[in-house]
Amino acid sequence: MVQPSFDALYREHYPRVLGICRRLLGAAGDAEDAAQDTFVRGYRAFARYRPEDPFGPWIGAIASNHCIDLLRRRQRLNELFSDADDAADSLPDPTGNGVGPLIEASDAAAVSAAVDRLPDRYRLPILLAYYADASYDDIAANLGITRNHVGVLLLRGRERLRHELAETAICRC
C-alpha cells in the first residue's frame, strides 16, 4: 500500500522533522506525536508532491504548519501576531549599535538557548526562517500575517537575540 519511496523518505527525513517539531513546540508538547502526524499529513498529501522538488523543505513546511497549528490551539497565537505596533520606521539599525558581531562571537549553544528564550512572536519567525528554511511567503501564510510583518518580526527578533546574548555575556563577566 505504501509507496516504497515514502517509506524511504520517512526514514531519511524523520530526524529533521522531529528536530523542527522539538524546536517549534519547545516544552509545549509532544514533538514525537507531532512528527508522526506530520508524516501522516505528508502521506495524505503525497499525491501533490512533485518528485523533482526536494522532499526536505516540503515535509519541513508541513511540519511547521502542523506545529504552528498545535501552538495556535494551545495558546492564542493570533493575538500574539495581531499587534500593529511593529512599525517599520522605529526599527533599530542592526550594525549601528556596536553589538553586531556578538552573535557570531557567541557559541552555538548560547545562541540556540537565547532563541528558545525569545517570546513566541520572535522565536517562531526566526526558527521558521533560519531553521526550517521557510520562505517569507510561507511564514506569512503560516502565521497569518503579512510578508512585511514577517520582515519586521525577523529584524526585531534578531535585535532581541543580540540583547539576550549581550545580557548573558555581561552576567558571565
Binding site: 526514514r11 542592526p94 552573535i103 548560547a110 532563541v115 517569507y136 510578508r147 537575540l161
Partner: protein, 550 residues
Amino acid sequence: MTCPSPLIRSMYVDGALPADEADALTRHAASCADCHGRIDALRREQRAIRQALRAAEVPVPAPVSGFVPPPTIPALLVWLGWGALATWAVNLAWVTAAPLAPPLWLEWLAPDLSGSAVAALVGALVRVAGAADQLWLDAISAGGLAALLLLSLALVWLLTRRPPTHQIHNVPWPVLPAVLPALLLPLLALAPTPGQAFELRRDDVRITIAADEIIDDTAVLIAETVLVEGTVTGDLVVLGERVTVRGRVGGVLVAMAEDLSVEGEVGGTVLGLGETVNLRGATLEANGYALGETVSVARDVRVAGNAAIGARDLDMQGSVTRDLLTLAETVDVGGSTGGDLRAYAGRVSLDDGARVGGDLIARVRGADDLQISSAASIEGETRRDTWPERRSRYLTADYYLGEALSLAAAFVFGLVLFWLFPGLREDRLHSGTEVLTTAGFGALALIVVPIAALIVMITLIGAPLGLLALALWITALYAAGIVAAALLGQRLLDPTRQRPALLLLAGLAVFTVLTAIPYLGGLVRLAALLIGLGSIVAWLRDRWASPAAA
C-alpha cells in the same frame, strides 16, 4: 538610490525582496561602503544563527520501523462493513436459534444427546424458512442499527484519527465529551432534541389541565395528583401518585403513577407504568405498552397498533388492531386482536366474544390453564404449550452461548475503550486503602450521578443534558465491569501489561466465571462495579488535573 531602510536591507539578506528591488540594492551596495558593510554584517549574523541552530540539534536516530500508513476511510468502512455483517449474522443466528426452548440445532451439544447433527441441521433450516419474514424484518432493523453504528464509529475515528505507529497517549480532553455522544448516537436519537422546547409544570399537590386548555407543546407534568382533561399537542410525560389522562395527546404519552388511568385519545405510543393501570374509553393511534401489577383494559379501548402488556393480573377487554403480547400471571381476554395473540402466563382464559384475528400462541403453566370459551373465535391456529420444567440455567446451551456473546461484546467494547483511553488501564490500586477509597468513589458516582442528572432534568432547561449524563452514566456502568476485569487480568497475569488485549480477554473470562457462581457472583459483580467506576473517576480526576499526563 538613497540608502535603504534597515527592514529592506534585512529582507534583502533574507532573500525576500522582489528581483528588481534586490538588483537595485546590489548595485547600490557596490557603490555605498556603509550599506555594503551593514549587509555583510547581517549576512554573517544570519549565517551564524543558522549554524548555531543546526549545531544545537539533538541527534535523533533514524526510525527503526518503517512508515505505517494510517487507515484510509474506505479501508475502515470495509472493516466496519464486515463488523456490521458479522453483527447481523450473529443476530440472525440468535433469532433463528434462540426461542424460549433450547434451540434444536444446539441440542446435540447438550448433555442429553437427543438427535443427530443431520436432524439438527434440518431443524435449523425449517426454522429459518418458517421465520423468514421475521428474519427480513430483523435484517432491516439490524441494517439500520449497523448504519448508525457505522456513522458513530466513523465519527469517533474522524475525531481521534492518529497513525497506528504509536499509541494514542493523549486524546485531547475535549474529545471525550465529543466521542461518547457519538457512541451513544443511537440512544440519543430517542431523546428529545435540544431545540425542542417543552413546558414543565410541577406542583406538590395537584395539576389540572382543564378541558378547554391546550398545551401547544410537549408537556412534563409532575404532581401528586395530575388530571389532564385538555389537549397536549406534543408529547406528554406525567409523573405522580394518581394520574388521569382524559384529554387528547398528540404525541407520545409516558406516564408513571401508582394509579394510572388513561381515558383519552393518544396520537403516539403510550408507555404506562403503574401499580394499577386502567384504560377506559381510550383510543391509541399507535402502539401501547403497559406494565403494572393490575392492568385492565376496558371494552371501549382501541389500540391501532400493537400492544404489549406485562402484569400480574391482566383483564383485556379492548381491541388491538395488530398483535397483542402479554406476560402475566393471569390473563383474561374478552376483546379482539387483529393479529396474533401471544400469551405467556400462568393461566390464560379467552372469554365469550374474544376474537383473535391471527394465531393464538399461549404458554401456560399446566394443560388446564388455557381455557377457551366456545363463543371465542380464533381465525388462525392455536399453539398451546406449557412452560418447560425449570432446568438449571447452567445446563442450557443458551446460557453458555449468551455468556460467550456478552463476553465477546465486552471484549470488543473494552478494546475500543482502551484504545481511545489507554489511561483507563492504569492500576491505581496500590494498597488496601486505595482499593477502599476507589470503591468509595465508585459508590459515590453510582449514586450521585443519576440523582444529579434527575435534578438537572427537572430544575433546569437541561433535559437533554440530564439525559446525556444518564446515558454516559449507563455507559460508565457497563465500562466499569470491563475496567475492573482488565485490572484483574493485569494483576493475575502480567502487571507489565505487555499484551493488553490478551490480558483483557483473560480478565473478562475470569470475571465471567466468577460472576456465574451463585450468590458469590453477585458480590463479585458489585465489587467490580464499584472498583471499576472508582477507577474511571480517578482517571477522570487525573486527566482533569493534568490533561497531558493522563
